[in-house]
């Protein structure tokens, strides 16, 4: 079982390397992280936080958009691409379970994601610490951001595989992936914000809003990293609501979502004739 998963993972890494996905993911993360750490250096001192913690706060807002995007870009082709190329039927005649195929892809894509995240955050950290050695105090926050980013990415890899299995066409899967990204990362928050404003402190804001935040892995990720860093949370717009939700709940959401999305993916891939 492990051997078969690793065989698929190795193949996927070869493919991702040749298709420049590794390079694209790393460059995206490094470029955006560096831009942010340069731009985010301005408020240092104002809040009394160290430079790296400030960078981590900006990286959190960036990663909420970027990590799901990179994860979906890597995963939307996973099943639909094999169907369209005609490689799936042969693969399925091998003594390998369908979930093992997905697991192999997941291992490879997660590894690439880790490389990209570490490269991006690492670059930002190096710049921050070089400019201000006191920034070392923020390493704890950076580590927290790193592993939660990987879990966030894994959740969206699972969503990508599920969409890819359901669409069975690369173009369809790409459309669904873009739709999911827009919906969960952009529109979801806008909708919540509009509802909170309209509700003006009513039942929605106190009861439904916290649950809605936890129900979306991207929001749970932001929430967890912001509540963990009290200093910057106060400066954030979402801070008020964030403080009302216990940290273990957002942590649970971050941990559970990858499992849920991967089970969804395995279920979507399990049915259907190739």
């Amino acid at each position: 079982m492990i051997a078969r998963i690793l065989a698929t993972a190795t193949t996927e890494i070869h493919i991702a390397r040749r298709n420049r996905w590794v390079l694209i993911a790393v460059l995206l993360m490094v470029a955006f992280s560096l831009v942010l750490s340069a731009a985010g250096s301005a408020p240092t001192g104002v809040l009394g936080a160290d430079r790296l913690s400030v960078v981590v706060a900006s990286l959190t807002s960036l990663s909420v958009y970027l990590v799901p995007l990179v994860a979906l870009l890597m995963s939307f082709d996973a099943v639909a691409g094999e169907v369209e190329r005609g490689t799936l039927p042969l693969l399925l005649t091998y003594p390998v379970a369908r979930w093992e195929i997905l697991a192999g892809k997941l291992v490879a894509h997660t590894a690439i994601l880790i490389v990209a995240i570490v490269a991006g955050y690492g670059a930002a950290a190096v710049v921050a610490i070089a400019a201000d050695p006191a920034a070392l105090a923020g390493l704890g926050a950076l580590w927290r951001l790193t592993w939660t980013s990987v879990l966030l990415g894994a959740a969206f890899l699972g969503f990508g595989y599920a969409l890819s299995s359901l669409a069975r066409r690369v173009s369809g899967a790409a459309g669904l992936a873009i739709g999911l990204w827009l919906g969960m990362v952009v529109l979801y928050d806008l909708g919540l914000l509009a509802a909170v404003v309209a509700d003006n402190g009513g039942l929605f804001t106190t009861r439904i809003f916290p649950v809605a935040l936890l129900a979306n892995p991207a929001d749970a990720f932001r929430l967890f990293n912001l509540t963990a860093a009290h200093a910057t949370a106060a400066a954030s717009g979402i801070g008020g609501a964030a403080n009302a939700i216990p940290q273990w709940q957002s942590l649970a959401s971050i941990v559970i979502w990858p499992l849920v999305s991967l089970v969804l993916a395995a279920m979507a891939f399990r049915k259907g004739e190739p």
């Binding site: 078969r4 065989a7 698929t8 493919i15 005609g86 490689t87 042969l90 005649t93 091998y94 004739e273």
Partner: protein, 298 residues
Amino acid sequence: MTSTLTISRLTKAFGGVKALSDVSLAVAPGERVALLGHNGAGKSTLMKVILGLIAPDGGEISICGAAPGSAQARAQVAYLPENAAFHPALTGLEQITQYMRLRNLNPSGAMELLGRVGLAGAAKRRIGTYSKGMRQRVGLAQALIGQPRLLVLDEPTSGLDPVSRRDFYELLDGLAADGAAILLSSHALTEVEARTDRLLILSGGRMVAQGTLPDLRREAALPVAMHLSAINGYEGDILAALPGAIRVNGVLHLTCAQDEKLTTLARISALTDKIADLDVIPPSLEDIYSHFSRRDGQ
């Protein structure tokens, strides 16, 4: 001897299209069986059902005693799809390495395997740069991995040059000698006749004939053609002696049923001094094939 593959009364319809109706067959260990049939006859569908890629509507299939698509069956069956496709970014070696590891084999033999299908020189190039025949050979190489008890090959020689075809059938002979059962589909009648033990003919989803070529020849009972050249001036005599003969481009054509062959020849030999030459033309492979293939409509 128990069969490696046994199919009974298999049925499969796609919407209104009956792709397979009531198909039964068996393939014994060491037997090379060719599946023939017109485009759309159901050959590829039959193979996909055997592999468990498509669920049948009815009928029973057993592969070494296991159900199609079960882990036990998949461990013993190798498949070559028609138009075998691979990820263009992978090299031949990487692709075969993955397939060997999926079968729990040490991939150190991958290079040797690629050598057996003549791809040693291109093993480290991307499959995207391969020619059609080279891609087909990657497909053959993966079908040879391990010791499959059953090989299901969908048009394995399509895209191969004549020498590679011969090499391919030699590989098959070796596998069959080791006890593997082989079911292959093809449109190339002559090579199939020479290199397989038995023929199955599908037409419109039905099994219309099965047996060795001599069996089928006998069953079809197609007429034998005879071409006679008369010695100058005797043509009229011959036409009078052999009713039914007709003159085509200066040669006299005569056909007779299989069981009248000897009596007809006896009548011809009575005219020896008037005949310059005689050719006896048995029904060709194509004739026999189209006899069966057309029998069910189409």
